[in-house]
Structure formats: structure tokens, C-alpha cells
Symmetry: C2
Subunit: 321 residues, 2 copies
């Protein structure tokens, strides 16, 4: 959510000389994306986004992300399409950092999506899963169940300073999740971070999905569980069954959920909430002095976990199939 | 250089409903401007900049700034043109803050302008002064000679921690400036902050001037002196006579400098350097914890002051008239 690197006009012009997108007309640093520096570019060929990849994105993962966006865009998904330079690659270097130019997508993120927006999001997510079916690269999900206990151990000693009892209930949840984590579900490329700020709408239609820098290979239904958490709860933990039911139905209408996926949904939703509670908790306890980015509240996900603990069936999430 | 206020899509849509610029297509927070929150807006009518005025801009000054931009744009200057809403005003409120929409200007700021860019800037600055001649509002320059001693007093005790001897030489400079500050020069609307990041170029042509939030009523030649300081020195204090000479000549070709203005130029340049040294010094000594903005180095202007102290004649700045 910040611009970490200043790019001089000279460095930018030299970089753009390798691309066939015409002369530079305007460049503005924009507050978008979590870990990278992003710039709005206007050139003679139109509007683009320039991204400089900062430290927290592993450089060896970039070909997966860049090739995935290209693959999905060619398959018709509304997502940023990487622009190749004259050497035929979409990954260059600028100011000492890996850098890429992607197409600009119109659309606005919604602060308070309603059930129909959630239905549209479910359908778009299923479309993403379909479009990624024949993508040949793989990337393990390094924030799945196996990563949660080590994350928790970093925060365990201080967890109760954030909320009384947080350490004990997290420990108990982890025991359940590790013992019962669903395996063998239909898998492929998932977005793994499809929060509202990564989905653009024009009117009530999804116009674009962005920020594929957590994408990986994992169970499709886990991706749905992440978005259920992100879109269907208020910050105070209030669950909106109408939104969740619409999202699941929207998904199912495009890619039919298998019975095993439906059965696994409560556990997947609980795991997804755990994943975000834990990364937020670690970030919360480790805010560097002078940080540009305000840490997100881990307790929003602790409150979702309270809901998930009580859920036993996909019907608790509005599934009516 | 940051976005200080989050604007929800709902608040933005409600705000835009008062404007005749079509539906919202995209909105990105941008890292532009010093003290305000700025957003790139794409609507059915084109590209715009939305500005939310944060605390450091005095609300009672906003009509001056907004009306000035409108006046200059109507006079043909390439500057942001405020967009009026359906009530006929260009100043609204959004998220509890005064807010305005202005037209988007193409162009890129130069990191290292050459002499020909400086000539073009001089001509553009003279054009601004001509275009503002018949603007009826006035705003005192509250960062002119009378403000410098009070600023210095805020920093005097700590000045030598920034550079040895800084307090003594600043005190001596202030004595000279206060005793000899030029009065009675041709005056009118000046930009008062025309640094390279506030001037856009397309190719070698000036395509736009932005950020009028220090504009005020003062001597035209003082504005030229500010830009001479900003454009014609390196950070280490090296002076580029070719750039300065080109800027003055470019200015003089559009608006003929009077002999009194030429004679006053060394003192005006010294005062302009003092003004930026002092505001930077105060900011440098008062960085709030967790600040979003890196303070600028006051010593860049201390080094310019060393040059100005030795200058006695406009010819020292490349004037050849």
C-alpha cells in the first residue's frame, strides 16, 4: 500500500525503450498491492501498471506469477496481462529490482459488497479455477496447514497480550486442523488472497481480479473458503449467511462442487481463518518502527474462528445444494 | 507523498453523483503532492485527479487556490482545471475533508533537467505570471522574509546538531536579508514552489504545472529565484550557470525583466534558499514517529546559500541582458 522505490524518469524511459508501448505520457506511484511498488503508467498505447517487486516477494516465484497472469488472461479471465518486452520476456529489471508491466484494468473495489456481488465473486472465482486448469507450472502453498504451527510458535508467548485466551484457543484449533485437514480434494491454481480489494467491479459486474502474488497450487474449495471469510463477515465477526450462500451458489453454477468439497467446507473455512489470523498476529506483534503500513487486526479472524468452531455442515454457510 | 485518507467506493460514488463526469471506472490513491491525499480517477468522461485537503492546508485558503487554477486554466495555462459540481462550486466535502476534482494532466517530471528544459521552465513561469495578472484575489506570502526569523528561532538551539556553524551563519544571513530585502518589485500571483516535481514535460516541452498550494501574491522575480534554486543546483551545491542563464533568458523572452528585478536577483535567490533551508530544518528536527514522509535535507539549501553569499550581480546567475 505504498511506493517503496523512487523511479527516475530517465531510468523509466530506458526501461520502457525495451517495450513497444509508445512514448511515456504520465507515471504516478499508486497505493495498491501489499508488498510491491506500483505505478500507473499512461503511454501512447494506453494505460498500464508497472510493478517493482520488493523484498517480500521471492524472486524465484515471479515466473510462476507472471506466467500465470498471462495464461489466465489468454484464457479470457479479466486479470492483468503481462506485457512482453522486445526480448519476449515479461519480467525485466528497473532500479535494481525485478519489474513487470501489466495491462490496466478498470473497476473499483467495493467496501461493502452485497449478496449479489458475492454471487458474482463466486462465479468469477470458479472461472479463475477453470481458466487455470491447464496451467503447467506448480507452486506449493507455503501458507497452508503445515505452516501454521511454526507461525503460531513465533507469536504464542505474546498472543494473550492481544486478546486473553488467544494462545489456548489457537492451540486447540491447530490440534483439530492438523488432525482433520481435508486432503485429496480437486486442486489446481488458486488465488489464495481474493479479498475485496483484489476484485474490481463496474456496476454490479466483476471487471477484474488482481494481485496474484499469493497464488499457488492447492484445493479449489480452500480458495472459496478464503473468500467466504473475506467477504461474508463483518469486522465484529457477524456472519452474513445470505452473502455466503450466494457466493457458494455462484461458484457452483460455474464449476460444480463435488460432495467431498461441500463436506470439507467448514474445516476449510476454519483453516482459512486460522491462516489469516496467524499471519496478521505475527505482523501485529512485529511492526517495525516507522512502518509505512498499518498492520491488520488479527482479532477480526479470531472472531471468525469462533463462528467456524460451531459450524459442522456446509449448510451453516448457506449451502442449499 | 502519500494517501492519508481512505475513501470508500460508496462515499466516492455519493460525492461523484454531484458531478457531470459520468460513472466511476477506476480510482487509485497516488503518491503525489506533499500534504494532501490524491487519487487518480478514471470516469466515463476521462481522467481526473481527486484531492482531499488534509490538515496542513488552511481551509480558508482553498478558495484562493481553486479559483486561481480555474483562472489560469481559462487563461490558457496548462494547469489542473477544477471541475465544478452541479451546484456550480469546485470545492466539495468528502470523508469529512474539503475535496476537489481537477483535470488530469499528462506529462512526466524530470529528475535531471538540462539547460533547454530550464529555458522552457522559465518561459512557462513567465506565462504563469502573465496569466495571473488579472486574477482578483490576494493571498499574502506567509513564508516570506518576515516569517524566517520566527522559523529560525524554532530550530536555532538544535541547528548545530545538523551541521556545525549552521546557527551562526543563518543568523548572519537573516540579518542581511532583513536589512536588504527588495521591496516594490513588480508583483502578482506567484507559484512559490515550482520544483521539478511540480512541472510536467512531454518530450522537451512543458506540458503542465501543478500543485498551486503555496501560491500567493508576491514579487514575480522571487518566483524565478525559487526555481533557480530548485532547478540549477545539484544536491552537493554545484551551480549550473548554463541552466540558470537559460531559465532567466527563457523567462525574459516572455515577460521582460525590469532593471530593478535584475538587480534584486542575487538577494531574492539568497532569500529563496533561506526559506527552503528553514522550513526543511524545522521539519528535519521535528519528524514525528512513524512519519509517512521522509524529511528533505536542509543542508542542500545551506550549500546553495554559500553560493548566494558570494554572488553580487545577476551576471553571476548567467544573466546576459
Amino acid at each position: 500500500m505504498a511506493v517503496y522505490t523512487d523511479v527516475s524518469d530517465e531510468a523509466l524511459r530506458a526501461f520502457l525503450a525495451d517495450y513497444e508501448i509508445g512514448d511515456l505520457l504520465a507515471c504516478k506511484g499508486i497505493a495498491e498491492g501489499v508488498e510491491n511498488s506500483n505505478f500507473f503508467l499512461h503511454t501512447e498505447a494506453g494505460n498500464f501498471i508497472l510493478t517493482l517487486y520488493e523484498k517480500r516477494v521471492r524472486e524465484e516465484d515471479l515466473p510462476f506469477f507472471i506466467n500465470l497472469m498471462g495464461h489466465l488472461a489468454r484464457a479470457g479471465l479479466a486479470c492483468p496481462q503481462p506485457v512482453r518486452n522486445r526480448s519476449g520476456t515479461a519480467l525485466g529489471r528497473l532500479c535494481g529490482r525485478p519489474a513487470a508491466i501489466v495491462t490496466f484494468l478498470d473497476g473499483v473495489s467495493l467496501s461493502r459488497p452485497n449478496a449479489e456481488h458475492c454471487r458474482a465473486l463466486g462465479a468469477a472465482l470458479a472461472g479463475l479455477h477453470q481458466a487455470g486448469r491447464d496451467f503447467s507450472m506448480r507452486r506449493e502453498n507455503n501458507l497452508s496447514v503445515g505452516a501454521w504451527r511454526p507461525l503460531f510458535l513465533q507469536a504464542e508467548g505474546q498472543a494473550d497480550t492481544v486478546a486473553p485466551g488467544l494462545a489456548a484457543r489457537t492451540r486447540a484449533d491447530l490440534d483439530v486442523l492438523e488432525a482433520s485437514w481435508p486432503e485429496g480434494l480437486p486442486s489446481g491454481v488458486i488465488h489464495a488472497d481474493l479479498f475485496t480489494d483484489n476484485v474490481f467491479f463496474i456496476g454490479d459486474e466483476v471487471s477484474g481480479l488482481i494481485d496474484f502474488y499469493f497464488a499457488c497450487t492447492d484445493a479449489f474449495a480452500y480458495d472459496l473458503a478464503i473468500s467466504l471469510n473475506a467477504w461474508c463477515f463483518d469486522a465484529d465477526g457477524t456472519f452474513h449467511r445470505d452473502k455466503a450462500g450466494a457466493m457458494i451458489a455462484g461458484y457452483d453454477a460455474v464449476r460444480r462442487l463435488e460432495p467431498a468439497e461441500v463436506a470439507a467446507l467448514p474445516m476449510l473455512a476454519r483453516g482459512a481463518a486460522m491462516r489469516f489470523m496467524l499471519t496478521r498476529l505475527v505482523d501485529w506483534l512485529n511492526v517495525p518502527p516507522g512502518a509505512l503500513v498499518q498492520p491488520k487486526d488479527p482479532l477480526e479472524y479470531d472472531r471468525r474462528l469462533a463462528f467456524h468452531r460451531r459450524a459442522s455442515d456446509a449448510r451453516d454457510y448457506g449451502w442449499v445444494g
